[in-house]
């Protein structure tokens, strides 16, 4: 194996998660701590920004640093909401300067929306928490985990995602409508990102599932929905545009014909022809032909392995040969 220029990464699901919480209000601190611990974080708590900075320097990096916008500088400090320098913001700036990639959330519970929260330009991209409920915090934490998972993907994992997406898009044929593997992968990511806050509109990542596996499921489901949508879409025509004369010279419109539930005979022929063409490519490779025949006959991969007595290693090698030949042909 060639030496990797990238540092080795551990599986995201196996990594322990840590959080630094800087909050002086006891009830809020308990509330945040409970939410974080429920999501599997080991939490260190500071009551003021000085202590927060010390803990950060001693134990950095954390998976997330959650800072109250109005956290006091030290114990006993009165909170002055009108002060031009807010200590929570100052701590966030210090953390950002010490570790630019550190995930930070600022709890700005006294504000109605993100646009209302005054902060320096450098902190414009920092996540803001404006609700005490668990939903928003969980969404923000999930997004950080997704971001972290992307950073942790190893080169082989990334290449597998790419090749997987290429295969699925190729399988869509014309229904891909110009979409390529990048579009599919991007879409899977966006669904995951939105799924961090809404399971209805996005695709929630269950952390018990490996991130690569999650993305492959998302891509498959997107392809299925593209197939369904694009098979159901019909173009609109005027009846007069579609009128034809039958053998006896009578004008007929499509409404004169009842749609058959069966696939059209010509389509069946085309499908069979395509199958024959694919199989013909492997005339010199009996094993590859057996695997393809098995797939065409509706067998699962374990049934194929059992039927032709292929062990796992052999099966992988055969599918690799198939991919290679079909890939070369597609490129040609």
């Amino acid at each position: 194996m060639a030496s990797s220029p990238l540092p080795p990464t551990r599986s995201i699901t196996a990594s322990p998660k840590s959080a630094l919480l800087v909050e002086n209000d006891e009830s809020l601190s308990n509330c945040f701590r409970r939410h974080l611990e429920r999501d599997g974080y080991v939490v260190r708590t500071a009551l003021n920004t000085q202590e927060g900075l010390r803990l950060f320097c001693d134990f950095k990096p954390f998976n997330v640093v959650l800072i109250d916008y109005y956290a006091p500088r030290s114990n006993g400090d009165k909170i002055d909401c009108l002060a031009p320098q807010v200590h929570g913001v100052q701590l966030a700036m210090a953390v950002r300067n010490l570790a630019p990639l550190q995930g930070i959330i600022i709890a700005a519970l006294d504000f109605q929306g993100e646009a209302d929260v005054p902060r320096p330009r450098e902190l414009m991209q920092v996540s803001l928490l404006t609700e005490t409920g668990n939903g928003q915090l969980r969404g923000l934490l999930e997004k950080m985990e997704v971001d972290r998972a992307i950073k942790a993907l190893t080169p082989p994992e990334l290449l597998k995602l790419q090749k997987f997406a290429e295969r699925l898009v190729r399988g869509l044929g014309r229904r891909a409508r110009g979409a390529d593997w990048e579009d599919l992968l991007r879409e899977a990511f966006l669904r995951t990102w939105i799924g961090a806050e809404s399971r209805q509109n996005g695709r929630h990542w269950n952390k018990k599932v490996d991130f690569v596996r999650h993305l492959t499921w998302a891509m498959r489901s997107i392809c299925d929905s593209w197939k369904r949508q694009r098979s159901n879409e019909r173009e609109t025509y005027l009846i007069s545009e579609l009128s034809t004369l039958d053998a006896e010279g009578r004008e007929r419109t499509p409404l004169d014909y009842i749609a058959s539930r069966r696939a059209p005979a010509d389509q069946q022929l085309i499908d069979r022809e395509e199958e024959d063409q694919v199989l013909a490519l492997f005339n010199d490779d009996l094993e590859a032909k057996q695997v393809l025949r098995g797939l065409i006959d509706g067998l699962t991969n374990s049934q194929i392995k059992e039927k032709y007595r292929f062990d796992e290693k052999r099966y992988v090698a055969i599918t690799r040969r198939i991919r290679k030949l079909l890939g070369n042909r597609a490129q040609a």
Partner: protein, 127 residues
């Protein structure tokens, strides 16, 4: 063999081939890319950049809306024809972006959120 099966055969082959990529040992996928004449590490980083671009895309949309004072709930991005759509919670104006190009459109981008500006003016007049 049913008609449905007949139509699904090629899709099944494609799916199986896609799955077989996931079963490959790490060394084998790196080797496969090298054999095709590409640098596997460059290819891998390109794939990561595709994911990062998607992340950046959402961030850009959010920042643009924020700079105009609009307030959209990230929960309500609805997938729609090659892109996503949402509405400002304050003024109701719509915004959408396309996944492939990142192009943003919608009335929310035409100007500042009128509802929020109204609130700001009212707060200023009270002071």
């Amino acid at each position: 063999m049913t008609d449905k099966n007949n139509n699904d055969h090629l899709a099944r082959i494609t799916n199986e081939l896609a799955d077989s990529v996931l079963m490959l040992p790490d060394e084998a996928i790196l080797e496969e890319i090298s054999e095709a004449g590409a640098d596997p590490y460059e290819e891998a980083e390109y794939t990561r950049s595709v994911l990062r671009d998607a992340f950046q895309l959402l961030e850009n949309v959010a920042r643009r809306l924020l700079s105009l004072g609009h307030n959209v709930n990230p929960k309500y991005w609805q997938p729609r024809r090659g892109g996503y759509h949402n509405d400002c919670l304050e003024c109701g104006s719509s915004v959408s972006f396309t996944t492939a190009t990142g192009e943003m459109s919608g009335e929310a981008l035409h100007g500042r959120c009128p509802a929020r500006d109204h609130v700001i003016r009212r707060q200023a007049s009270r002071k």
